[in-house]
């Protein structure tokens, strides 16, 4: 079966793995590299984050974030706009816990660990140098049942 645009977005995010998480602090855009736990089956991208860092405050202030995935060598790019929420879900932290997290915390029981859950709103991906630009309207299109518009950009429902 042919891969849909939304499947391609999820696959590219999984492949690239590390993204720049961009937040708005009310004055400036800030971004930092974060290892992404990409879970299409949950319609979410998760991150493990530390309560002592600034981004939690920024997200509480303005929950719209952007995940920028770039594989410059392969010229694959994904921009995912989404809604972020900070959770202290121990079970989820344990589920996501692994080698990368051990660089930051000694154990999944560290009280400073938070789960950052990003629910996608829309995504845009660039698969090859300046060829296909597919614009994937995710939840919004799914909710309204709008049909994809064909034009310079392809808009598709993600789910």
């Amino acid at each position: 079966m042919a891969e849909t645009d939304s499947e391609r977005v999820w696959a590219l995010m999984k492949k690239i793995g590390i993204c720049m998480l961009a937040t708005w602090d009310g004055h400036e855009l800030h971004a930092r590299p974060m290892g992404a736990y990409v879970r299409p089956e949950e319609n979410a991208v998760y991150f493990l984050s530390d309560a002592r860092r600034h981004k939690e405050d920024e997200i509480k202030q303005y929950s719209k974030v952007c995940l920028a995935f770039a594989d410059t060598g392969a010229q694959n790019y994904v921009s995912l706009a989404g809604h972020a929420e900070v959770q202290a879900d121990r079970a989820k932290i344990r589920e996501l816990w692994g080698t990368p997290a051990k660089a930051w915390w000694d154990s999944p029981d560290d009280p400073n660990i938070r789960v950052l859950k990003v629910t996608p709103q829309e995504a845009e991906f660039w698969d090859a140098p300046r060829s296909t630009v597919a614009y994937a309207k995710m939840a919004a299109a799914a909710l309204t049942g709008t049909r994809p518009e064909m034009g310079d950009n392809r808009k598709v429902a993600m789910r």
Partner: protein, 162 residues
């Protein structure tokens, strides 16, 4: 012979990586797209060629603060730049920074749809190296004016006053 300035590493990455994820705000949130940077290190500016018909100019007109993200996966270098962007219909500048690959999109720098983005970087945060847990913060203007050396602290997040 002057020692290399720490911010040179930032410009090196910009020049080497070339394509950044250019992040803007729109009323629905934040959005990024790959754009090829045309850095002018001596002027402390980064130029882009873009199209008047694409959405980002409107987003920039509405909000001048933008973000530029450069990723060098192999070197494990992650660079986040906060910047101020300005849209210009400047065909002379477009001609100056024009590349042959731009002809795929436009009929030369005189194409009426061509415009340039003049981006003034303000601060840079750099995660550099395989374990990149530490971030160094650079301020472009101070680096350019004084060329002073950074005072490195001992925190995980190092603010370099330059």
């Amino acid at each position: 012979m002057a020692e290399p300035h720490p911010i040179d590493r930032v410009w090196d990455i910009i020049e080497k990586v070339g394509v950044c994820m250019f992040t803007t705000r729109f009323n629905g949130g934040l959005r990024a797209r790959p754009l090829e940077a045309r850095p002018d290190r001596s002027a402390g500016l980064i130029w882009f060629v873009t199209d008047l018909r694409s959405g980002k100019e409107h987003e920039i007109e509405a909000e001048h603060d933008v973000g530029l993200v450069f990723t060098d996966e192999k070197a494990k270098a992650y660079l986040s730049i906060t910047a101020r962007a300005e849209v210009r219909r400047d065909h002379v500048k477009a001609a100056e920074i024009w590349k042959s690959t731009d002809n795929v999109w436009w009929r030369g720098p005189e194409d009426p749809n061509v415009c340039v983005l003049r981006v003034t970087p303000v601060t840079a945060e750099l995660w550099d190296g395989p374990s990149s847990k530490a971030v160094a913060v650079f301020e472009f203007a101070k680096a350019r004016l004084t060329g002073a050396k950074p005072k490195l602290g001992e925190n995980r997040k190092v603010t370099v006053d330059m």
